[in-house]
Amino acid sequence: MTVLAHSPSMTVADRLKDGFSCAFIGLLLGIPMLGLTTVDEGGALRVMTRWPSLALFVGIVFVGRIVLQMIKQSFARRRASRPAKPRGAVEGSSRIQSIIGWGGLGLAAAMPIVFSDNRYVVDTATTVLIYVMLGWGLNVVVGLAGLLDLGYVAFYAVGAYTYALLSTQFGWGFWEALPVAGGVAASFGVILGWPTLRLRGDYLAIVTLGFGEIIRLILVNWTDFSGGPNGISSIPRPGLFGFTFSPPGSGTSIVEALGIDYAPTQRIVFLYYVILALALLTNLFVRSMRKLPTGRAWEAVREDEIACKAMGINVTNVKLAAFAIGAMLGGFAGVFFAARQGFISPESFTFSESAIILAIVVLGGMGSQMGVVLASLVLVLLPELGRDFAEYRMLLFGTAMVLIMVWRPGGILSHRAPTLVYVAPGEQA
């Protein structure tokens, strides 16, 4: 769009023209949004006009655009005058990242101890960790293998429903159901993977989007199997070595066994540590996979599928492995979600969930593990913090996403660390 283009040296006339075009767009948008309003007059709605506030709005857009352009240009000029970063800076940033990583892990481990009496904080942190885990799982498919998956929530749902059904119908416990549900989700990943192997980019995105909706609609409509829109309730919570986190008196309560006082937050804190452990395992697993032939082949497929074939790599298997492993990790997160909520329904697995998980991966920086954590924090905490702004919270959320994409188009952390670095035998430290 010509309006948004900016050259480093604009004349005054250019600037005014740019400001006027933005003000014009503002005017078009502002007429229905600000210029017209409805008033309730004795039960009847009447349309009133607010031209002064519209004029003020257009004025703000005009001046704001010009000021914004000037700020942008001064930034661009400063950046141009600065010398290019030396190579060492990139390596330094990965060391800083690992320090931040360990620091963050320490904070995450200590968090529920500090806030042990604040249920809201621990609950929100648990939600963040679920998204971190989902983000790390989807990162395999989208970030590493470069397959745009818009229906990731389907595998999350498969995991959650597998556990819900196994536990409520057959009395399975959390820890037995976890690997089984992961396996079921992985096979769904392969089922989705097969027909989409030849698709790329937009086409793949549409098919995966459809797959996500198919799973949700089956769950809504197959009432005998999934409980339909009513969902499945009273899903058992995870225990620890046969003990439960229930009030004393049931015989299996852990507080009785340990002889400590019962507190309702104990279960919340335990759940937090379960998801922390699951998320860390996911991270460790994905990190190791990335350095193995399979992981390197994922990245190679993302970079150039045809070259992969010419190197003798079976692209079909590589893609299916990515789908299966991504789906399995999503399934694990689903099991945890079902166990934590105690109740699941198709409502929890709508397209907007897929969109949020994908946004976490893209905003974080495709393929970056740390980026996923930062993006999950932003995307989960922003709407939470925004609760005070009531109806403006989605606006705040949207603005934050736009700003991240303007400042860091490659995601918050877009640096790719090589999986292998050659050190000449003489140079070893």
Binding site: F285, S288, M289, L292, P293, T294, R296, A297, E299, A300, E303, D304, I306, A307, C308, K309, A310, M311, G312, I313, N314, V315, R416, P418, T419, L420, V421, Y422
Partner: protein, 279 residues
């Protein structure tokens, strides 16, 4: 030339796209331990021939047979593209360089050894457990990559992202990556395109070295006559998908059909235009 001596034998190969015949009844023998060049005007069907050879296209008619020293005759046209590299050890490069641009040179060369490494990692299980057998295989893969990089004078770029390298260097990295697959026949699609005269001369030395010392058969598509005439043992000229001449560089240089195809009889411009359309 008998079938015994030839490494690759192309038999009545025809490739049609709808009504367009890109390759028309092409038969060709590629001798062992030699450099064979395929030349021809734009749109003569050279790259299509490579695509048929390496499993990217299924030929309409005809067969391409590779006489593998250990595995006997392999019918390449029946193999899926990844088996051409894996089972038949026929590896190609691309006209428009296809490196894994965001990965380092070393990673590119290790990815090329995927099949051997994947086997050693027992589909990631031995790799995840970091068993010594896998670690040994991984070290060997790096060593192999390093040894090729040394031979191709690319060691200084080993940890650089491949996409950020100069064009000529990327071409060499692509050849190094193909060599890591352990080819018996290396198919190079315009390796000299975009190289300066000095780089072309280096490419000549490299190709001669690979063929004479490493015993890798080379099939070459090239427009740069300074490369083709110097290094080829054998040249095949295509025009409109047909073979119009075959022979040693000295024979090709004076062949009337070739001169006509390249320069035209009356109007050179007209010929180039036609050549550009027939793809």
């Amino acid at each position: 030339m008998t079938a015994q001596q030839s490494l690759l034998s192309v038999q009545n190969l025809t490739m049609r796209f709808g009504g367009l015949t890109a390759i028309d009844d092409l038969s060709l023998e590629v001798p062992k331990d030699s450099i064979t060049a395929i030349i021809g005007p734009n749109g003569a069907g050279k790259t299509t021939f490579f695509n048929c050879l390496t499993g990217f296209y299924k030929p309409t008619v005809g067969q391409v047979v590779l006489n593998h020293p250990d595995r006997g005759a392999i019918r390449l046209a029946d193999l899926p593209s990844h088996h051409v590299a894996r089972k038949a050890q026929v590896v190609r490069t691309f006209q428009n360089i296809r490196l894994f641009a965001n990965m380092t040179v070393l990673e590119n060369l290790v990815v090329a050894q995927h099949n051997a490494l994947q086997k050693a990692s027992a589909f990631s299980i031995a790799g995840l457990l970091r068993l010594p057998s896998y670690r040994k295989a991984a070290d060997e893969a790096v060593e192999r990559a390093v040894s090729w990089l040394k031979r191709l004078k690319l060691m200084e770029f080993i940890n650089h992202p491949a996409g950020a390298l100069p064009y000529g260097t990327q071409r060499r990295v692509e050849i190094a990556r193909a060599l890591c697959v352990d080819p018996i026949l290396l198919c190079l699609d315009e390796p000299a395109a975009g190289l300066n005269p000095k780089e072309s001369a280096e490419l000549n030395d490299l190709l001669t070295y690979l063929c004479r010392e490493e015993k890798v058969g080379i099939l070459l598509i090239e427009h740069d006559m300074s490369v083709v005439m110097k290094v080829s043992d054998h040249i095949c000229v295509l025009n409109y998908g047909r073979k119009i001449a075959e022979g040693t560089p000295a024979q090709i240089r004076v062949d009337p059909h070739v001169v006509k195809a390249y320069l035209g009889e009356d109007d050179m411009e007209d010929d180039i235009k036609q050549g550009g359309v027939a793809r």
